[in-house]
């Protein structure tokens, strides 16, 4: 019987052919925790009798969610992480080095065909690399760091097939927002997603990461982009599904006519064509996150903002996904373009995405954000409203002071 990508990757790790529904204990190729989940991971690791992590080269801690520390409480949690990393001989990514998912990919902690477990819900991002990557909580991660293993139910797979090429000015973010709207926030719970078809084939690694990233917004265990067209700096052996693989469900979309998409408050699947919200006044524009804080995202914003000034009633925050993205954006002039247009640059990391610091919106304010979540209170204030869009939409909206279709600035 044929296998999906997930079934193949798990089979390779457990040494026998397994299929959806089977319960397995699998070895893993890597594990990481951030500063939201790391301290509890360390606590659980010690409590369960952990002494040494299974392989210090395959484990990492990242300080990204509240970096630099906004208060003494969090400073002490960061210190706990630094001490633990030193004690274990594993790498700790410091403040400003970047968002966990970005630095795991940039530093090759995860490669095609791997099983990677991260204590963060957007760990499926590595599905861009043809890896099986799942998010877990702190105690699960502690157990994985201790044993090098994870227990898993082999997931059923949903196939999402997108034919046609995206129009000029329509990006991977618009596509994934559209798909989240169709599949809904719980449409893929416990299941894996395979993204396949022409629309994904020409995508950069960065765009594939945007796609895989928001599998989490459909409740999926993992989301893997078909590796056709994937280009990496190193040689790799791609895992592709068998032709007779068994899918629990298949979605077929022709996306050649897709328009820019916006997700309205207060759920990521509340997605509509941008025309429905054009003209909505905004106070605050944010570009960053593990979804859309990469060079191509900053570049497209710079293309729109070059030589212009953002609207006087709008403030704009940029948080590059990593230090390496920041350096590239300085190198190619993108960063000065954005700052000259009036944007404010903050430390590479999660920034205001999760409402801990660095740019909490005020009561009644409206945010247009390139992030992946717009739940009530997500950015730290339950009395604000968050719209999600592509970086191009965020930039065009910052310019005009209201939600704006970026098309006219890109064609």
């Amino acid at each position: 019987m044929g296998q999906t990508i997930s079934e193949k990757i798990i089979s390779n790790h457990v040494g026998k052919k397994v299929y959806a529904g089977e319960l397995v204990i699998s070895k893993v190729d890597g594990a990481m925790a951030s500063d939201t989940t790391g301290p509890l991971t360390i606590k659980a690791f010690k409590e369960m009798g952990g002494e040494k992590v299974f392989d210090p080269k395959k484990c990492a801690l990242i300080i990204d969610h509240a970096a630099p520390s906004p208060n003494e409480r969090i400073a002490n949690l960061h210190k706990m992480m630094r001490d633990f990393a030193k004690e274990q001989g594993m790498r700790l990514f410091e403040i400003g080095e970047g968002i966990c998912h970005q630095v795991m990919v940039e530093n090759e902690y995860v490669k095609p065909g791997d099983i990677f477990i991260g204590a963060d819900s957007h760990t499926p991002t590595y599905g861009a690399l043809n890896a099986f990557a799942c998010g877990v909580g702190s105690t699960d991660l502690a157990a994985t760091m201790m044993t090098g293993k994870i227990w898993l139910k082999v997931p059923q797979t949903i196939q999402i097939n997108c034919s046609g090429k995206l129009k000029e000015g329509v990006t991977a973010k618009d596509l994934i927002l559209f798909l989240v709207g169709k599949v809904t926030v719980s449409g893929a719970t416990y299941q894996a997603i395979e993204f396949t078809g022409e629309a994904f084939e020409g995508m950069s690694l960065a765009s594939r990461m945007t796609i895989a990233n928001m599998s989490s917004e459909m409740g999926a265990k993992t989301g893997i982009v078909h590796p056709k067209g994937l280009k990496l700096d190193y040689d790799f052996k791609a895992v592709i599904p068998d032709e007779d693989a068994n899918y629990v469900k298949t979605f077929d979309f022709d996306v050649s006519g897709l328009e820019p998409q916006v997700s309205a408050p207060e759920s990521p699947d509340n997605v509509h064509n941008i025309s429905k919200y054009e003209g909505t006044k905004i106070d605050y524009a944010f570009i960053g996150t593990c979804c859309n804080g990469r060079l191509e995202d900053l570049d497209i914003a710079a293309e729109i903002l070059r030589g212009k000034k953002i609207h006087p009633n709008v403030r704009m925050v940029i948080a590059p996904a990593s230090q390496s993205v920041l350096l590239d954006a300085i190198g190619n002039g993108t960063m000065s373009t954005l700052i000259e247009a009036g944007a404010s640059l903050i430390t590479s990391g999660c920034g205001p995405c999760v409402g801990t610091h660095q740019g909490v919106p005020a009561d009644g304010e409206v945010v247009i954000s390139a992030a992946n979540r717009n739940f009530r209170g997500r950015m730290g204030n339950p009395n604000s409203n968050i719209y999600l869009g592509a970086p191009s939409t965020v930039a065009a909206s910052a310019l005009e002071g209201h939600i704006t279709n970026p098309k006219k600035y890109l064609l």
Partner: protein, 168 residues
């Protein structure tokens, strides 16, 4: 410490898609102090929750409970606030695993009609929930064996302390 297997308590009932930001906002999660978590649990959903919840009470929800982030602080906050079991039509998967891992029992009952304030009698071992107010009995979806083993030890920490590794 194994969890209590028979619970008779009041139900607090909420709706669908309650995300982890609503269970415990991100701004409170960076702490190892469980009482801080409990003080803010569900505050953006029901500012009164903290005042009305009593030790041993049951939380009941619709579909996709606990969607969003992987923060284990969400089930920890509920447990610390006194919640003894969460019943939902279904759960987001990371929340589901986290709850079991920290020893907070969760039961999936896809067709429950439990109403606010209902008195429930829960038999965790057999996954039977009796709604004493409406006089209806429900059977929960069975957990995978490994989850039952973890729950029986009171959570994953104790499970691994005892067994040293996973086994099926």
């Amino acid at each position: 410490m194994a969890v209590k297997t028979n619970i008779k308590a009041k139900a607090h009932v909420y709706g669908n898609h309650i995300d982890t930001d609503r269970i415990i906002p991100g701004k409170y999660t960076k702490t190892l102090d469980l009482s801080t978590l409990a003080n803010h649990v569900l505050e953006d959903l029901d500012p009164e929750f903290n005042k009305i919840v009593a030790q041993g009470d049951i939380l009941v929800a619709g579909i996709n409970f606990g969607c969003g982030s992987s923060r284990e602080q969400a089930p920890l906050a509920l447990k610390q606030a006194g919640i003894s079991v969460v019943i939902a039509r279904d759960f987001a998967r990371i929340f589901f695993r986290n709850a079991i891992n920290i020893g907070l029992p969760v039961l999936e009952i896809s067709d429950h009609q439990i109403q606010k304030g209902a008195k429930l009698d829960v038999d965790l071992k057999n996954g039977i929930v009796k709604d004493l107010t409406a006089n209806i009995s429900y059977e929960a979806t069975k957990l995978p064996d490994i989850m039952i083993a973890i729950l029986n030890e009171g959570g994953l920490v104790n499970y691994l302390k005892k067994n040293g590794n996973y086994s099926l």
